[in-house]
């Protein structure tokens, strides 16, 4: 027999005070009595037990010392060599991905998996070690290697459901690292994976060395929204397009159901559908909104004239959301000494524009908004966003030269958002003037240039605001008649107001997102209301998002939302509740572990010490109560 913790033997020193107290105790309290006539009558009746009366204090001392010895022996954690030889190291991986929320088994697959995991813990032998890893969304060690079953059970109970993807391969790699880090090569090492195996590589992983799969759940059909994205309309400033994709991940047809799309709870689209097995349906739906809100797509069935959630094994992927930001009005002031109907109408056509015009140069300009100068521009351009069209005079950023000889657009920066959906190849720009930028303009970005290299369309990024210059005579060229012109104007306005109303794509559960935050403290609030702090003042990465719903980044003090992220399952692998063929699974082993015989040796010592404590308690009571 060996001792795992021999230093605990020092606790035997406690025997010294026990003996001292015993010696002190046998120096009994002296109680004077006036006569022993009566006491003699009482105690002389007990004479046959006098031997016990004399010895019982000594017996009590021996019991106390034995009690201490047993406790100390238990603290030293004695074990037999055979126990050490047969000890195992088990890494338990519990899959808590989105598919484990399926309800095709009692409660959920995750609940069943935890039930199986509890049985595995119960089956551990005295010196077996176990660690637990959660494999959903992002693999993490929830309990390091320990021989303490209660810690394992507590850690296991703490594993919650996630809507993220299965990360079995990463979890297995983590498990192997964990097993290797702790050394002791003599120990048999095993990795037990409790999962529904609904991942493409499950069959391959289940056959890996020292890996055993314990599977939960059966083959179940599921209907899921596998894509749900929104984007701004290219032609309508307040319009947006929604891409919806629905997949029937089942071996059976779905029957009739509906796709219901609502914006802030108001129904905006209902599409009746019926999909064949494994069929995917998708559609782009156009709509408009200025106020924005949460766009929700949900799969429903009509029961008794009421919409009910589509009844399948996994509810999470029957719903998807997107966040539509509010579009704010933009004040635009257009100054033109001669006026230009095309430019004015293009600006007015934007529903977000609040246009004002002037023919005489204003003395001052309103802060904020967009300033548009046609022909005449002030010598020093005002701060803020400025669009200058067909400049006729010099200003602080450029000098206007002669007319260009052959102003055909031959060079374009197609990657610039200002040139999105705009094609100006070989478009003639008559009477376009040569613009020479001053050093104050820095390095302007040339978006379109003539064959001579002279800029026709450029953007200057000043600290006090962007300046876009278009050196084209709108009255003589055919640019105003081209579809590119209103798009170009909208791109410019969109660029100037880029901080308002841009859409973020809906995110897949388990992904991360980057956000640039101003200085200050922020809170990230998950859909279930839990929050965590996020320092501002730069770029930050949030995630991985393990719950579906709207995640909010808000200022800590005011609670004002800075960013909102819509997170959906949108993962065919997770929504497909049919495990692949070829997964090798084993049954849960229980063994002696949880039984009385499977306890560690120190447990029996503690039990024996408990019996001695009861015996001493009895002896003690006998001294007081006959």
């Amino acid at each position: 027999m060996s001792l795992a913790n021999p230093t605990a033997l020092f606790w035997l020193a406690l025997g010294i005070p026990v003996v001292i107290f015993y010696i002190l105790k046998i120096r009994l309290r002296r109680m004077p009595v006036s006569t022993v006539i009566f006491w003699r009558q009482i105690f002389d009746e007990k004479k046959p037990r006098s031997l016990w009366q004399r010895l019982r204090h000594l017996v009590s001392l021996l019991v106390q010392l034995a009690f201490l010895a047993l406790l100390v022996a238990a603290l030293t954690e004695p074990f037999f060599a055979s126990e050490a030889r047969s000890a195992r190291r088990v890494i338990l991986i519990v899959d808590n991905s989105a598919s484990m929320n399926a309800t095709d088994v009692e409660s959920t697959r995750l609940a069943k998996a935890k039930e199986d995991a509890h049985r595995i813990i119960q089956g551990l032998r005295a010196r077996d070690e176990m660690a637990i890893i959660a494999a959903g969304t992002q693999p993490r060690v929830v309990c390091g290697l320990t021989v303490h079953p209660k810690s394992l059970r507590v850690a296991l109970d703490g594993i919650g459901p996630t809507d993220g993807p299965t990360q079995l391969a990463a979890a297995l790699a983590l498990a192997r690292r964990l097993a290797a880090e702790t050394g002791d090569a003599d120990k048999e090492s095993r990795i037990l994976v409790v999962t529904d195996a609904c991942t493409d590589d499950a069959a391959k992983l289940s056959t890996e060395d020292r890996v055993q799969f314990v599977t939960v759940g059966a083959r179940a059909g599921n209907l899921a929204i596998t894509r749900f994205q929104v984007r701004r309309s290219t032609v309508d400033p307040i319009g947006y397009e929604t891409l919806v994709e629905i997949t029937n991940l089942s071996d059976e047809p779905t029957g009739e159901f509906r796709l219901s799309i609502t914006l802030n709870g108001q129904s905006i689209e209902v599409i009746p559908l019926a999909l064949a097995h494994n069929q995917t349906w998708s559609k782009v739906i156009e709509n408009t909104t200025r106020d924005g809100g949460v766009l929700t797509a949900e799969l429903v069935v009509k029961v008794d004239k009421e919409d009910r959630p589509y009844p399948d094994a996994l509810a999470t992927d029957n719903k998807a959301i997107a966040v539509l930001p509010k579009r704010n009005d933009v004040p635009v002031h257009m100054h033109s000494p001669v006026g230009n109907l095309f430019l004015q109408k293009v600006l007015e056509a934007n529903p977000l524009t609040q246009l004002t015009t002037s023919k005489a140069m204003p003395a001052t300009f309103q802060t904020g908004g967009v300033k548009v100068f046609h022909r005449e521009a002030p010598a020093t351009l005002p701060p803020g966003s400025v669009l200058v069209v067909d400049p006729a005079n010099d200003c602080n950023l450029w000098k206007v030269g002669d007319k260009l000889q052959n102003p055909i657009v031959t060079q374009q920066d197609k990657d610039s958002p200002l040139m999105a959906h705009v094609r100006l190849d070989n478009v003639l720009m008559p009477e376009a003037r040569k613009v020479t930028f001053t050093p104050a303009a820095g390095k302007p970005q040339i978006l379109a240039a003539a064959s001579t290299g002279d800029p026709l369309f450029a953007v200057i990024d000043r600290p006090e605001g962007k300046v876009v210059v278009l050196s084209v005579n709108l009255d003589l060229g055919d640019l105003p008649f081209r579809t590119a012109f209103p798009i170009l104007a909208m791109n410019v306005l969109g660029q100037f107001t880029s901080s308002h109303g841009e859409m973020r794509e809906s995110l897949v559960a388990g992904s991360t997102a980057d956000v640039t935050l101003p200085a200050g403290d922020f809170l990230v609030r998950s859909p279930d209301g839990t929050t965590r702090k996020l320092p501002g003042g730069g770029k930050a990465t949030i995630g991985p998002f393990d719950q579906c719903g709207v995640w909010t980044v808000a200022a800590e003090g005011t609670g004002t939302a800075v960013e909102e992220f819509a997170v959906n399952v949108m993962n065919k692998a997770e929504s497909d509740l049919r495990p692949p063929e070829g997964v090798v699974a084993v049954a849960v082993e229980t063994g002696f572990g949880g039984s009385f015989l499977g306890r560690p040796f120190w447990w029996y010592l503690i039990g024996l010490a408990g019996i001695l404590a009861v015996a001493e308690w009895y002896l003690y009571q006998r001294r007081w109560i006959s």
Binding site: K25, L28, R29, R30, M31, P32, V33, S34, T35, V36, I37, F38, W39, Q41, I42, F43, Q53, H57, R623, W624, I625, S626
Partner: protein, 293 residues
């Protein structure tokens, strides 16, 4: 605080006054013997016989009836009161000590007797007689008595009432009232000693004193070394609740046995705890006689 202070003496005087009013002829003092003799109170006549003292001839009657008759008078004699005071170490037990209480009671009763012109003596005893205050008479002797009582220490070994009574009754003294003031914790039994007094025709009265902690021992549970203050012997015992119950029962039985003995033999008996003051006890004894309510 002295055992017999001025307050004590005031109480003695008060008790003496009450006793004159109510005790007369009941308990002690001024008792009239049935002997006829040289008293002053006329009893009856008898015929003259030669040799009688002429001084007692009733000459008036002779003149009228010509018959020589002799006048007879009732003779008065004083009462002898013997106090037997227990001085064993068991009497030193308690708070206040039983011994102090017993001495106060003895002093009070003795004062009443002296005030009524009776003779008193005090015999201190334990396993044997250890000191004597000789027979004396008159109130003036009270201070000597108090001094004697104060000087008594509780020193005796095991109480042996039989040996004490044997020594007492073999003294050359008149019969009288014998008041035993003791806790009666005699290992060989209190009754033999009292029997001897009774058989020698002493009018015996018992004042049995006990402490409240003797009836209800405090803090005795558990392992204790029981120390007998009388014998000085110690004994290691474990006192359980059951033992305490048995003790209480035995103590009560002992008290009952003392009372039963006295009742059987028509002895006066007063059982008291030291929680009572000595003057309250004296008044209680008066009430027991039925003259005070």
């Amino acid at each position: 605080m002295a055992l017999f202070d001025s307050d004590f003496l005031k109480k003695l005087e008060y008790l003496s006054l009450i006793s004159r009013r109510v005790f007369r002829g009941s308990l002690m003092a001024q008792r009239r013997t049935m002997q006829l003799g040289s008293g002053i109170e006329f009893a009856d006549h008898r015929e003259y016989t030669p040799g009688d003292d002429f001084r007692y001839l009733d000459w008036n009657l002779y003149a009228r009836h010509d018959e020589l008759l002799l006048k007879r008078f009732q003779e008065e004699e004083d009462l002898h009161v013997y106090f037997l005071l227990d001085c064993s170490r068991s009497m030193a037990f308690g708070d206040p000590a039983k011994f102090d209480f017993a001495r106060q009671v003895t002093a009070a009763l003795a004062y009443i007797a002296l005030a009524d012109l009776d003779r008193i003596s005090v015999t201190a005893f334990a396993d044997d007689i250890i000191a004597d205050f000789p027979l004396t008479r008159g109130k003036g002797r009270i201070l000597s008595l108090l001094k004697f009582l104060e000087s008594l220490p509780p020193i005796g070994q095991d109480t042996n009432l039989a040996r004490v009574a044997t020594g007492f009754i073999h003294r050359d003294q008149r019969r009288g009232l014998a008041i035993v003031v003791s806790d009666l914790y005699d290992p060989s039994g209190f009754d033999r000693g009292l029997d001897l007094l009774r058989h020698r025709r002493y009018e015996t009265r018992v004042v049995q004193v006990h402490d409240k902690y003797e009836r209800e021992p405090p803090d005795m549970l558990g392992d204790v070394e029981m120390w007998d203050v009388e014998s000085g012997l110690a004994r290691k015992v474990t006192v359980t609740e059951k033992n305490l119950r048995q003790y209480r029962q035995l103590f009560d039985e002992f008290q009952d046995s003392v009372e039963g003995y006295c009742n059987r033999h028509s002895l006066g008996c007063t059982q008291t705890s030291t929680e009572l003051s000595f003057d309250q006890l004296i008044l209680r004894m008066m009430r027991q006689t039925g003259v005070v309510r």
